[in-house]
C-alpha cells in the first residue's frame, strides 16, 4: 500500500514555516563545496549595466565567417569600420578622423593593445587568432573609470577562450579568392590543477585589388602567430593565469613618397612593413572570501615595425643650409623649395632667410643640386609597454559593491625618424567604482579615475549612472560620464625628420643626409575631454526570447587634437571640438531553438570644427543577421551590413555562410563556404581601395577531436 501525502493544510503550514538551511542538518549535503559564484564574481544583469554594451558571442563570431576582429565590429551599432589599406583597418565608434583611429580602448584579456607611442591600434597585427576568441564585449561610450584613459569613445574588450574550455585538438584551414590562405591549429590539455592552450595560426591575403587609377594596390599581408595560455589553481583561494603571444608578418604598403623637387623620376617600389608583436601577461587572482577578491596583473608588450624604403630626391634636399632655413621659417623654406626654378634670387624675407635662400639657390643652379640622389629611409619604430594593475573587489553588503584599484604604466617609443631616439612616459592611475542597489528597482553606480601622466599632466574624470529596473529583465538608464584622452607621444612630442642613408652619390660631403623637413610636436598639448550623456533602455522579453537595447546619446569632445599627422607643417593644438548626437538600437531575437535574428541600427549626427573629424561618420548604419540550424549538421548565416556614407563612400554588403558538420567517430569535421557580396559599386573608405569583383568566396575546413 502506498501512503498518500498527508492532509494539505499541514503540508502548507509546514512549507510556510520553512526556515533557513541548518548548518548541522543531517540531511543537507555536508560536502565542503566552494562558493563559486560569489558576490565579487557575479556581474550586473544586462538591464542593470551602467551603460550600453554589445556582446559578440562565440556563436556570432563563427556564423559571421569573419577573418578579422574589425569585421566583427560591424555588428556593433555605431561602430564605423573603414580601411586605410587592405591591411590597415581604421575603426572608430561614432566617428572622427578616418585616417587615425585613436579614441577607442582595445583590450585583450585586460591588456591594452593600443600602441604605446603612436597611439593607434594595428588591428591586423594584434597577436590573437579569431579562433581563440570566446567573445567580444564592446562598451559603447566613454568609460575611463573602468578602463583607463583612451577609453574615450568606446572600449573593445576581447576575451579569449579559457584554457579549461579549449581542450582537445583543433585544426582549420581557410582558402579562397583574393589570395585568402589562413590556418589555425590548437591543442588544449588539462591536468589536476590547471589547463593550457597552445595555438599557432596564420593569415594571408591580397588586400584590395586596385587603386583609384586602376593600378595594382600594394596592400597584401602575411602573418604567423603563436599563443600560449595557462591557468593554474594554486589552492582554494588563489589562481594564476598567464599568457604569451607573439606575431610576425609583413604588411605591404604602397610607395607614397613624392619628391619635393620637380623632375625627379627615380623612386622605390614599396614601403612595406615587417611587424613583430610580442606580449606576455601574468595575473594572480586572490579570493579572500566570497565578499572580497583581488587581482594583480602585470604585462609587457613590444611592437616592432621595421619599415625601410628607397627615397630619391634632388641633392639639395640634404643641403644643411636648406635645413637651417626650414628651422628658421618652414613656410618660407617650403615656398622656396616648391618653386626653385622660378627664383633667380631669394624671395623677400629677413636678411638671414635671404642669405640662406641665396646659398640654396646657388646649390640648386650651380652645385649639382638638381641631381637625383637616392638613399634609404628608415621609419622603423620599436614601442614597449610595461603595465601593472591591482584591482580589488569588495562586496560591502548584499547591495553595495566597491571596485577600486591602481595602475602603473611605462611606455617607451624608440624611433630615429619620429623621436630622434627614445622617448618614454609614466602613467599612474587610481580608480574607484561603487555600485549601490538602493532598492529592488533603483541602482546607482558611480566612480572616478585620477590619472597622472608625466608628459601631459593629471586629470580627474567622474562617471555616474542611474538604472531603474522595472523588473529584473527591463531597465532604464541615465548615464553621465566624463573621459579624457592623453595626447600620445607622437602628437605631443614628435621630433620628426628623415635621415636618408646609403646615398647613391655623396651629398655635401656625406654618405647620408638629414632631409631638410623637420617637424616637432608642441610638447604642451592638453588632454582631450569628452562629456557624454546617455539615456537608454535594455529589456529581455523572456517568453519570446527577444533582447532589445535602445540608447539616445549626446557626446561632446573638446580640446580636440584633430590635426592630421603629417610631416610637413604639423601644428597640433587643442583648438578643435566635435559633437555627436543620435540614437542606437540593438535587437537580438531567438525566434526558435534553431533561428536567431539580430538587428542593429545607428543614427549619428556629427558636427565638428575641423571637417576632417566628420569624415568617418555614417549618418545611418547598421546590420541585420539571420542564423539558422537546419538540422542534420547543416547551418547557415546571412548578414547584411550597411553604412550610408563613410568618408563619402557608401558601403553595403551581404555575407552568407553555409556550413555542414560531420561527425567522424569522436571527431567533428565542419566544412563551410562563405560568400561576401558587395551591393554597391563604391571604393571602401578611400578612393584607392577597390576590388575587381564585387564578391569574394572562401571555404574553410575545421577538424576537432
Amino acid at each position: 500500500m502506498y501512503l498518500g501525502p498527508p492532509p494539505r493544510s499541514s503540508l502548507v503550514l509546514a512549507l510556510l514555516f520553512s526556515g533557513p538551511l541548518l548548518a548541522d542538518d543531517l540531511f543537507l549535503d555536508s560536502q565542503p563545496l566552494p562558493q563559486v559564484l560569489t558576490a565579487t564574481r557575479l556581474k550586473q544583469s544586462a538591464a542593470a549595466v551602467p551603460g550600453s554594451m554589445t556582446v559578440i558571442d562565440s556563436e556570432l563570431i563563427k556564423a559571421s565567417g569573419a577573418r578579422d576582429i574589425t569585421e566583427l565590429l560591424r555588428l556593433v551599432p555605431g561602430m564605423m569600420v573603414g580601411y586605410t589599406t587592405g591591411n590597415q583597418a581604421a575603426v572608430n565608434y561614432h566617428g572622427t578622423n578616418a585616417s587615425d583611429a585613436r579614441r577607442m580602448q582595445v583590450l585583450i584579456d585586460g591588456r591594452s593593445v593600443y600602441r604605446a607611442g603612436l597611439a593607434t591600434v594595428d588591428w591586423s597585427d594584434i597577436p590573437v587568432a579569431m579562433e581563440d576568441i570566446e567573445r567580444i564585449e564592446v562598451f559603447r561610450g566613454p568609460n575611463t573609470v573602468s578602463y583607463g584613459a583612451n577609453a574615450l569613445m568606446a572600449v573593445v574588450n576581447i576575451l579569449t577562450r579559457s584554457p579549461a574550455n579549449s581542450q582537445g585538438t583543433r585544426m582549420k584551414i581557410t582558402q579562397g579568392e583574393r589570395g585568402i590562405n589562413d590556418y589555425y591549429a590548437s591543442q588544449g590539455v588539462g591536468w589536476e590543477t590547471g589547463n593550457l592552450r597552445l595555438s599557432v595560426s596564420g593569415q594571408q591575403d591580397d588586400g584590395f585589388d586596385s587603386d583609384a587609377l586602376g593600378a595594382d594596390r600594394r596592400d597584401s599581408r602575411r602573418l604567423n602567430r603563436f599563443s600560449l595560455a595557462v591557468s593554474q589553481t594554486l589552492n582554494q583561494q588563489q589562481s594564476i593565469d598567464w599568457q604569451f603571444n607573439a606575431k610576425e608578418g609583413s604588411n605591404q604598403r604602397p610607395y607614397t613618397y613624392k619628391p619635393v623637387f620637380d623632375g625627379i623620376t627615380e623612386g622605390g617600389t614599396n614601403s612595406d612593413v615587417t611587424a613583430k608583436d610580442y606580449a606576455g601577461s601574468l595575473r594572480w587572482n586572490f579570493d579572500f572570501s566570497p565578499e572580497h577578491s583581488l587581482y594583480i596583473q602585470g604585462s609587457a608588450q613590444q611592437w616592432d615595425r621595421r619599415q625601410i624604403w628607397k627615397a630619391c630626391d634632388a641633392k639639395v634636399s640634404f643641403s644643411p643650409e636648406l635645413t637651417q632655413l626650414w628651422q628658421l621659417n618652414s613656410n618660407y623654406a617650403e615656398k622656396l623649395a616648391r618653386h626653385m626654378d622660378n627664383y633667380t634670387s631669394a624671395p623677400p624675407g629677413s636678411a638671414a632667410e635671404q642669405a640662406l635662400a641665396n646659398q640654396v639657390l646657388d646649390q640648386w643652379k650651380n652645385g649639382g643640386g638638381k641631381d637625383s640622389v637616392c638613399g634609404n629611409i628608415d621609419q622603423s619604430t620599436r614601442e614597449s609597454r610595461y603595465d601593472l594593475e591591482l584591482q580589488d573587489t569588495l562586496s560591502l553588503t548584499d547591495s553595495l559593491r566597491l571596485v577600486s584599484g591602481m595602475n602603473y604604466r611605462y611606455d617607451r617609443a624608440d624611433s630615429d625618424t619620429y623621436f630622434n631616439g627614445t622617448l618614454d612616459d609614466n602613467t599612474w592611475r587610481l580608480f574607484g567604482h561603487l555600485e549601490w542597489r538602493a532598492s529592488e528597482h533603483w541602482l546607482l553606480q558611480g566612480g572616478a579615475m585620477f590619472e597622472d601622466t608625466r608628459l601631459s599632466g593629471n586629470s580627474l574624470t567622474p562617471r555616474v549612472a542611474v538604472n531603474y529596473l522595472i523588473n529584473p529583465r527591463h531597465g532604464l538608464r541615465a548615464v553621465y560620464s566624463e573621459a579624457i584622452r592623453s595626447p600620445d607621444m607622437f602628437e605631443n612630442n614628435v621630433n620628426w625628420s628623415y635621415r636618408v642613408t646609403n646615398l647613391s652619390s655623396p651629398a655635401y660631403g656625406q654618405n647620408s643626409g638629414q632631409y631638410f623637413v623637420k617637424t616637432r610636436g608642441p610638447g604642451n598639448l592638453d588632454k582631450e575631454r569628452m562629456r557624454s550623456r546617455e539615456l537608454g533602455y535594455n529589456g529581455f522579453f523572456a517568453d519570446i526570447g527577444l533582447n532589445v537595447d535602445v540608447k539616445l546619446f549626446y557626446d561632446e569632445i573638446t580640446d580636440m587634437i584633430s590635426e592630421p599627422l603629417r610631416n610637413n607643417q604639423y601644428i597640433a593644438s587643442n583648438a578643435n571640438s566635435s559633437r555627436f548626437t543620435g540614437t542606437e538600437t540593438q535587437l537580438d531575437w531567438r525566434v526558435s531553438a534553431s533561428d536567431r535574428l539580430r538587428l542593429t541600427y545607428a543614427y549619428v549626427d556629427a558636427s565638428a570644427t575641423n571637417p576632417l573629424d566628420q569624415q568617418q561618420t555614417a549618418r545611418n548604419s547598421g546590420s541585420a543577421g539571420w542564423l539558422r540550424e537546419w538540422g542534420q549538421g547543416w547551418s547557415s548565416a546571412l548578414f547584411y551590413y550597411g553604412d550610408d556614407a563613410l568618408n563619402q563612400y557608401r558601403f553595403e554588403r551581404v555575407d552568407m555562410r553555409v556550413a555542414k558538420r560531420i561527425a567522424l567517430g569522436k571527431a567533428n569535421l565542419e566544412l563551410a563556404g562563405m560568400l561576401q557580396q558587395r551591393l554597391d559599386n563604391q571604393p571602401t573608405t578611400w578612393a584607392d581601395n577597390n576590388y575587381d569583383q564585387r564578391h569574394v568566396l572562401y571555404f574553410s575546413a575545421e577538424l576537432e577531436f
Partner: protein, 310 residues
C-alpha cells in the same frame, strides 16, 4: 522513632514510580502505538544525536534509541517488533546480510547509491527513502521559476544514466525537452560546451561523480559565462552558485517518518520520495542573471499543490 526520609529514599521512590509507570504504559497502551524505534549508523556525531533526539521528541510514545552499528548483533537477532532506521550506507550493508530482520527504513540514500548497493531489487522488509531531490519536482521547479525554458540540459555519467528514461517521461508530460550529454571524463570540459549551446537551463542530477567540490568551479563558472542557470543538483550547490533546488531537511524528514511510523510496517512503501520539502534559491545569482528572485516559500507551496493535482 521516625527519621526524615533521606535523599536515597527519594531516589529509590522515584525510580520505583517511574518503573511502575513504564509497566503501566506497556500494559495498557495499544501495541501499534508504543514502538521500539532503533536508529543506527556506523558513525555517530552531533548531527546524528540531534536527529535522534528530535525524533524522540516527535514520538514521545515510542522508545527511540540510537545504537552504533558496531554494538548491534546481526539483524536477524533483533526482535521483529523493532522498527529499524538506518542512517548510512554501512548500516544498510549490515542490514543486507540477513534476509530476515526487523522492518527497516533506510534514510540518506540516493537513487544512485541504491542502484550501486542493491542493483534493481529491493530486499523485503526494507523501505528506501530517497535523499536526492525527485526529478519531477526539480522539473516542476524549473517550469515554475523559468517558465520560458524548454530545453533542459542534463549531464550524466555511467552511474546516473539510468535516470534519463524517467526524466524524459516526466519532461514529455510537461512539454519540456531533455537535452542529455554524457560526461565521462570530468577533466575534459568539451561536453559542457556542447551541452550549453543547446540548452535553456541546466538540471543537475545528484551524481557525485559529476557534481563535486572539484567540478563545481568549472561547471558553475562556464555555465554562468553563457548566462545559463543551473537547477539542483542539491541544496548545497545552491550556495555554491546554482540558481535553485528543492530539498528536504531534518524537519521534513521528521514529518515523513512521523507519518510512516504511525502505520504498520506492512504498509510501508518499498521506496519513497519525501512529500515534505522546501525550495532554496540563490538571490544574487538570480539578480545577476536577470531573473526574479525565487520566493522560496511560495514556490514550495505551488509545487506541493501541483503534486497533489498532477
Amino acid at each position: 522513632m521516625s527519621h526524615p526520609p533521606s535523599w536515597m529514599t527519594h531516589l529509590f521512590t522515584a525510580r520505583v514510580w517511574r518503573r511502575c509507570l513504564l509497566l503501566a504504559s506497556l500494559l495498557f497502551a495499544t501495541p501499534t502505538w508504543a514502538a521500539e524505534i532503533l536508529l543506527t549508523a556506523a558513525e555517530d556525531g552531533p548531527g546524528v544525536q540531534a536527529f535522534v533526539q528530535a525524533l524522540g521528541q516527535k514520538r514521545p510514545e515510542d522508545r527511540v534509541t540510537f545504537t552504533p552499528l558496531k554494538d548491534l548483533p546481526a539483524p536477524a537477532h533483533l526482535p521483529s517488533t523493532v522498527r529499524l532506521i538506518l542512517l548510512d550506507l554501512k548500516s544498510l550493508d549490515w542490514r543486507l546480510q540477513d534476509n530476515q530482520g526487523p522492518p527497516t527504513l533506510v534514510l540518506r540514500i540516493s537513487r544512485l547509491q541504491a542502484r550501486q548497493h542493491l542493483g534493481h531489487s529491493v530486499p523485503p522488509r526494507i523501505s528506501l527513502l530517497w535523499s536526492d531531490p525527485p526529478l519531477e519536482r526539480q522539473l516542476r521547479l524549473i517550469a515554475d521559476i523559468l517558465p520560458q525554458a524548454r530545453r533542459i540540459g542534463v549531464l550524466y555519467g555511467i552511474d546516473s544514466e539510468f535516470l534519463l528514461h524517467e526524466l524524459r517521461q516526466h519532461a514529455t508530460s510537461m512539454g519540456l525537452e531533455i537535452v542529455s550529454q554524457p560526461w565521462d571524463n570530468i577533466n575534459d570540459s568539451r561536453p559542457l560546451q556542447t551541452l550549453f549551446k543547446s540548452s535553456d537551463v541546466l538540471l543537475g542530477l545528484d551524481d557525485p561523480q559529476l557534481y563535486n567540490p572539484k567540478t563545481a568551479k568549472n561547471l558553475l563558472l562556464s555555465s554562468y559565462a553563457r548566462q545559463l542557470p543551473l537547477i539542483g543538483p542539491n541544496a548545497g550547490f545552491v550556495k555554491a552558485g546554482s540558481l535553485a533546488s528543492t530539498y528536504s531537511d531534518q524537519s521534513d524528514w521528521l514529518d515523513v517518518l512521523d507519518r510512516l511510523l504511525d502505520h504498520s510496517p506492512s504498509s510501508w512503501p518499498r521506496s519513497l520520495y519525501p512529500e515534505h520539502f522546501k525550495v532554496v534559491g540563490n538571490p544574487q545569482v538570480a539578480r545577476s542573471l536577470g531573473i526574479e528572485q525565487v520566493d522560496e516559500a511560495a514556490a514550495a507551496v505551488r509545487l506541493a499543490e501541483g503534486e497533489k493535482r498532477p
